[in-house]
Symmetry: C2
Subunit: 128 residues, 2 copies
Amino acid sequence: MRIGRLAEASGVSRDTLRYYEKQGLIRADRWPNGYRDYPEGMVELVRLIRQGQSLGFSLKEIGALVQGLGGGLSQVEVEQLLRGKLAEIDARMKELSNLRAVVARRLAEACPLGLDAPGSLDPKRVAS
Amino acid sequence: MRIGRLAEASGVSRDTLRYYEKQGLIRADRWPNGYRDYPEGMVELVRLIRQGQSLGFSLKEIGALVQGLGGGLSQVEVEQLLRGKLAEIDARMKELSNLRAVVARRLAEACPLGLDAPGSLDPKRVAS
DNA sequence: CTTGACCTTAGACTTAACTCCAAGGTTTAC
DNA sequence: GTAAACCTTGGAGTTAAGTCTAAGGTCAAG
C-alpha cells in the first residue's frame, strides 16, 4: 500500500503521514524506487493515533506508547507504561463525565423556563 | 480578587489568564488603577476551561460555549449549542472506552506470558 | 515519448496556545 | 521613602502539529 492509498483509507494527509514517520510513530518499508510501502494494518494504527489525539493525548505521548511497545523497553517497563496509560484513560473518563454533568445541568436550567441559577458557566455572571 | 491570586487558585499563569481574556473566554472588572478584579467563582470557570482543554476541546470551542451562554444567543441557540456539546462529550466517552479496551487488551497480552498476538499496536509488526 | 497522476526530499510557512521580556505604574513592608 | 512584590501593556519568541512549495524522480495510458 502506497502513501496516497493509506492517506485516503485513514483520512489523514500524505504530509501528515510523513510527519508521523519523522516523529517515529509509524514506519514504512520501501520499494526499490524509494516509494513507501505500508501493510494493510497501518490504517488501523493511524486511526488509533488520531483517536488518541482527539482525546487530548499528544503525539509524543502516543509515540511513547507505540515506541515502547515496538522498541527497546523491557517487559516490566511496557507493562508499567500500559498500566499508566490505562489509569490516565480512566481519569480522563471521570473528568469527561464530570464535564458532561456540568453541561447537562446547564441545559436543564436553560431549557424549560430560562431560569438563571447560580453556578452558571456564564463568565459575565459568575458567582462573586 | 487580583490576577495573581486567581492564577494561584486556578493553577494557570497570569499570562495565560490575560490570554484567555484576549480570546474572550473570561472577563474582568477593573479597579480604578487598572488592575483586573475577578469574582471568586472565576476560579471554577478557569478550572472548567482547563478541564475541557485536557479532554481535547480547543479554546475556540470552549469559547463558543462560554460566549454563547453569556452572549447574544437566543434561548433556542443556547439549547442547541448545549445539546451539541453533550452529544460530542458522549461520543468522546465512547471513543475513550474503545481506546481503553485496546490498551487493556494489549496489557493482557503483554503481561502474563509475553505473547505477541496479532492486532498489536506495535508499528513494526502491524498485520500485513 | 509525452502527459498526468503518482511519489521523493528539504525547507519555509501557519495556527493555536502559550511564554517571556521590556518599560513602566502601584501597593505593601520596613 | 525606598525596596520588594505586585500590577499594566505591547510585542517578540516558542512548541506542537501540521501544511505548503519547489524541484525533481517514476510509471501507466494513449
